[in-house]
């Protein structure tokens, strides 16, 4: 699509002249004595070049003087804002950047800083991860703006997490495609031919529109793509010239924002559903392995109905990826998949590990041994089969299954439940009920055992993660709470002790296990919870917080209520265990595994860190008797609408 005709004031010619003048101004100091000294220094030490004088001046000097007056009452970014506002974004998260300054200004003045409202972020990784956490509560994407180069480089790991977690995040990148508009070394280095290339392997779709109508069409399409399961992050480039150039009055009538026409989630065809129902009802002992099943709150009920109809236990595997199933339900994690004669995998990325055990062998790799019962049948319903990529290896091992259905599980489950109901005879129902009674008893024993295990180390210092979880539960159980963090690093104690029943009570893990996700995702999820009046709780790992701790300031600045409870084991603990393993394998000194992994000496003062960012902070707390009162005080702060942080010195896991 051709770019719109330029307005009659000769904008391009004017800016070219202005840019040339500005370039002359900013490069003038390079001819001075100080600059010559710098050049000589650079020749002496070529491996550590100083910033160029032009770059230094561009970063530090005021904007170059204008040689003419140029204004517009309708920059292209206003129309871009119209497009993005039509999609219903509540928030736009950004670390400010010059390549999207036009859009930034349009959002706050033309758009009134409402829907979307600007969220001030201190790192692009935080912006995207906030969007990641937000989407898992709100069920729709947050808008994120970033530089097409340096901003996206910062954001890339968080985008990969969202991609692997199949979560929609809508990213707009600023870029100056036309060389004639780049006024300095800064703008040259911040420009790129193909901005989205860097993240194309782990985004679902991208485009770089060359006109405003192109931006409108691709903007709406991007939203539709991001929200169609399997969901994922999308990237749209907002060219800086398109943003900043005025829209001539005669061109405005040609601009149009297309209507968003959402795509329904892909459900399985009736034949596949009927075949799966037949297999499930015929099974003597079916087990369900659930991954990212409940995309929405509506996903829980049909899974519960299916499990109860068949008295089939629902297992998470190594990680609980979504709030799919009530944690205290008698069928939750009851029995074992190894005893089943039929295993149904639902949106489970690591499903292979449900049916196999891996044992390290030698340089040939892992010995993968199937551990299912002889003759057991396996089926899957997964939208992961619809989004195959090859470079980034988030696909997991290949599964040999008897029936693979490429579809969204949440969208397919209601039909599967009905199909199973139609096939159940009175005899089958009686047999199923008997199995259910046994599983309920096993579940009760498992729960009692968890409580007994939680008692070990109850008075220990550092504080046990079971104690931390029990103390927290005692004070939030009467609230409409939401755990906006994962539980793996605290030995899953919240999942074993708390009563999770609602979708918003758990948001799963990062997706790609990229550390640095936890704190910003918690802030984003807490933001989504705010308008619902929910109490957001984040069990925050110390290593994770240190990637971009300034997200605490973002929470304070935007008055996002969030209780942060540090799981402060003073280490990158997973790596300590790994290095210990390597040392033992090499018959060497395991005691040196601390080196390079500890976050101690000096111990990091997280309470002071929080205070520095304007967040209530208390601790470090290492006496378990002090924990309950500290939680109570922090909750008072959170209930006033502010974030709070308790630094708890904890056991490693």
């Amino acid at each position: 699509m051709a770019r719109l005709p330029r307005r009659s004031v000769g904008r391009r010619g004017f800016l070219k002249d202005a840019a040339a003048g500005a370039a002359a101004l900013v490069t003038a100091p390079a001819l001075g004595a100080a600059s010559q000294d710098a050049q000589q220094q650079a020749q002496i030490r070529p491996s550590v070049p100083p910033p160029s004088a032009g770059l230094a001046a561009a970063e530090t000097n005021p904007p170059p003087p204008r040689v003419d007056v140029y204004t517009t009452d309708r920059p292209g970014s206003d129309f871009m804002a119209d497009v993005l506002k039509s999609l219903g974004f509540e928030y736009v998260a950004a670390n400010p950047g010059s390549s999207f300054r036009g859009l930034h200004e349009s959002f706050i003045n033309y758009g009134g800083n409402k829907e979307p409202e600007l969220l001030t972020c201190c790192h692009e990784e935080s912006s995207v991860a906030m969007g990641h956490g937000y989407a898992k509560i709100e069920g729709k994407p947050m808008l994120v703006m970033a530089h097409g180069t340096v901003g996206l480089q910062h954001a890339s790991m968080a985008i990969y997490n969202a991609y692997a977690d199949r979560v929609p995040v809508y990213i707009v990148l600023g870029n100056i495609a036309d060389v004639g508009w780049r006024r300095s070394d800064v703008e040259w280095t911040h420009s790129v031919q193909d901005a989205a290339a860097m993240v194309r392997d782990y985004t679902k779709w991208d485009d770089a529109p060359v006109s405003l109508n192109h931006f409108a069409e691709s903007g709406v399409r991007a939203y539709k793509v991001a929200m169609t399961p399997p969901c994922g992050p999308v990237v749209l480039v907002a060219d800086a010239v398109l943003q900043e150039e005025g829209i001539a009055p005669e061109d405005r009538r040609r601009l149009r924002v297309p209507r968003l026409s959402p795509t329904g989630p892909p459900a399985a065809d009736a034949g596949a559903v009927a075949e799966l129902a037949r297999m499930l009802v015929a099974a003597e002992y079916p087990v369900i392995a659930a991954g990212r099943v409940a995309r929405t709150p509506a996903g829980i009920a049909p899974l519960v109905e299916l499990a109860e109809l068949l008295q089939a236990p629902v297992h998470d595997g190594q990680f609980m990826l979504r709030m799919n199933f009530p944690t205290r339900h008698p069928l939750k994690n009851a029995g074992s998949p190894t005893e089943a004669d039929f295993i149904l995998g639902l949106e489970k990325p690591d499903f292979f590990l449900i049916t196999h055990r891996l044992t390290p062998v030698n340089r040939f790799g892992m010995d993968a041994r199937r551990v299912t019962k002889a003759g057991a049948k396996i089926a899957t319903i997964s939208s992961l089969d619809l989004s195959t990529r090859n470079n980034y290896q988030d696909g997991g091992r290949y599964n040999e299954v008897d029936l693979a259905i490429a579809a969204d599980a949440e969208a397919t489950l209601p039909a599967l439940v009905e199909a199973c109901k139609r096939l159940l005879t009175p005899d089958r129902r009686r047999a199923i009920e008997q199995r259910g009674a046994k599983l309920a008893e096993a579940s009760r024993r498992m729960r009692d055992a968890a409580l007994d295990e939680a008692a070990w180390g109850w008075e220990a210092s550092p504080i046990s993660t079971a104690r931390l979880s029990a103390e927290l539960w005692d004070q939030i159980k009467g609230e409409d709470w939401s755990l906006v963090s994962d539980t793996t690093f605290v030995s899953n104690w919240p999942l074993r002790l708390w009563d999770f029943t609602k979708h918003h009570q758990f948001i799963g893990f990062s997706g790609a296990y990229g550390v640095g996700y936890g704190a910003p995702a918690a802030v984003g999820a807490a933001l989504a919870n705010r308008k619902h009046g929910r109490l957001s709780v984040n069990i925050q790992c110390d290593g994770d917080l240190n990637y971009a701790p300034a997200v605490l300031w973002t929470a304070a600045h935007h008055r996002i209520p969030l209780l942060n409870v540090m799981h402060n084991n003073r280490a990158y603990h997973q790596e300590r265990m790994y290095v210990t393993d390597m040392a033992a394998r090499a018959n060497r000194d395991v005691s040196r595994a601390q080196i390079g992994n500890e976050l101690n000496d000096p111990a990091i003062d997280y309470a002071s860190l929080a205070k520095a960012y304007g967040v209530y902070g208390t601790g470090p707390i290492d006496n378990p008797k002090d924990l309950g009162p500290a939680i109570k005080k922090a909750l008072d702060v959170v209930k006033r609408g502010e974030p709070a942080l308790i630094d708890v010195v904890t056991q490693p896991r």
Binding site: Y160, R328, D452, E453, W456, G457, W458, V515, Q574, D581
Partner: protein, 120 residues
């Protein structure tokens, strides 16, 4: 930066049954505590031996010193083997003495925060 999570080092199973029985030696709980911390046993099993998702509880487990040593030498789970180059039989005996000296947990029923979690 990107890290895979592997839950490692479990002592839950009683493996290594084929290994010859190690010599029985008396242990020093005091020295065992020092060794337990120095050799990072607590990484997976906790400073109180309470266990975690990464390693089983080893406080007050029903196992004798020889069985303990045999398991550490030839573990059956994902726990790495600790050979005599890392920990001698005497040092393992000391660690075992320390683990046996750890106090048993109070029953969960006597801890109100846990007892309230029990299904009624």
């Amino acid at each position: 930066m990107i890290r895979m999570l592997v839950l490692a080092l479990t002592l839950a199973a009683a493996g290594g049954a084929q290994a010859p029985a190690p010599p029985s030696v008396a242990g020093s709980a005091e020295n065992g505590k020092r060794l337990y911390m120095k050799h990072t046993c607590y990484f997976c099993h906790g400073t109180a031996g309470q266990g975690s998702l990464a390693g089983a509880r080893i406080a007050a487990v029903a196992r004798n010193a020889q069985g303990f040593t045999r398991y550490v030498r030839q573990p059956s789970g994902q726990m790495p083997a600790y050979t005599e180059k890392i920990l001698s039989d005497q040092e393992l005996a000391d660690i075992f003495a320390y683990l046996r000296a750890l106090p048993a947990a109070k029953p969960a029923r006597e801890i109100p925060l846990l007892d309230q979690l029990r299904p009624r």
